[in-house]
Symmetry: C2
Subunit: 151 residues, 2 copies
Amino acid sequence: MVDIVHRVGVKAPLEQVYRALATREGVAGWWTTDTQGDGKIGGMLKTVFTRDGKVLGGFDLKVLELQPGKRVLWQVADGPAEWIGTRIGFDLKQEDDFSIVLFRHEGWKEPVEFMYHCSTKWATFLMSLKSLVETGKGQPSPDDVRISNWH
Amino acid sequence: MVDIVHRVGVKAPLEQVYRALATREGVAGWWTTDTQGDGKIGGMLKTVFTRDGKVLGGFDLKVLELQPGKRVLWQVADGPAEWIGTRIGFDLKQEDDFSIVLFRHEGWKEPVEFMYHCSTKWATFLMSLKSLVETGKGQPSPDDVRISNWH
């Protein structure tokens, strides 16, 4: 089992970062504008990623944990085979005037090339989260950062 | 043992991406402008990272492998304790009109918080590599992307 891990610091109060992770509207502001569903515990967030109007794919995420200012945890219920059953967690803490996000996407069975891709994409989306909270503007799909031929 | 992995695609010929990884001048264009030493096999690249004129740290990297257009492999000889002995590899291949870089920083003993930080920083440096080769301008230290309070 191998994990994707990342750390970013957002110059903003914990509650603002938490809100961007724990609500449908928040997630739509940094990951993909096409985020639907229910962000409550036990609910399902449904994300779709498009480019030039064409659907590239999406993920259905069951909300497992919501601890205000501390932790958000999702489990992937549907999406690419490699993602199903994996967990995506965001642990939050305060350091100086930064809210630190410790990110982990865990439960990958094999370190396949798609995982390499997702690791880099997660970094760009976490920078989008940082930008959303600090400036009010993220860079969610379909205007997300293009990192390769896989987009 | 845990690894940091990333994948980016650079819209340029393999030999250009290889040159940015396999030479001192190339590395200085995307990682840190203060890159010294010898980029040949068995040689040592010495990198220093600064901010506002203050040295933050650096890494000494022994060049283990250089396969033109295919692979560059370094081993960390000196730097932060968590990095010493780890290996940093770049595998290259062509797909469509992209040169694909499969990056792996392997041999971390524990998934410490510093590893989370380095994973995100590597993503931003690989995007700097992509930018350097595609546009002629990277974003190496000391003007690298600030991701947190740790910089």
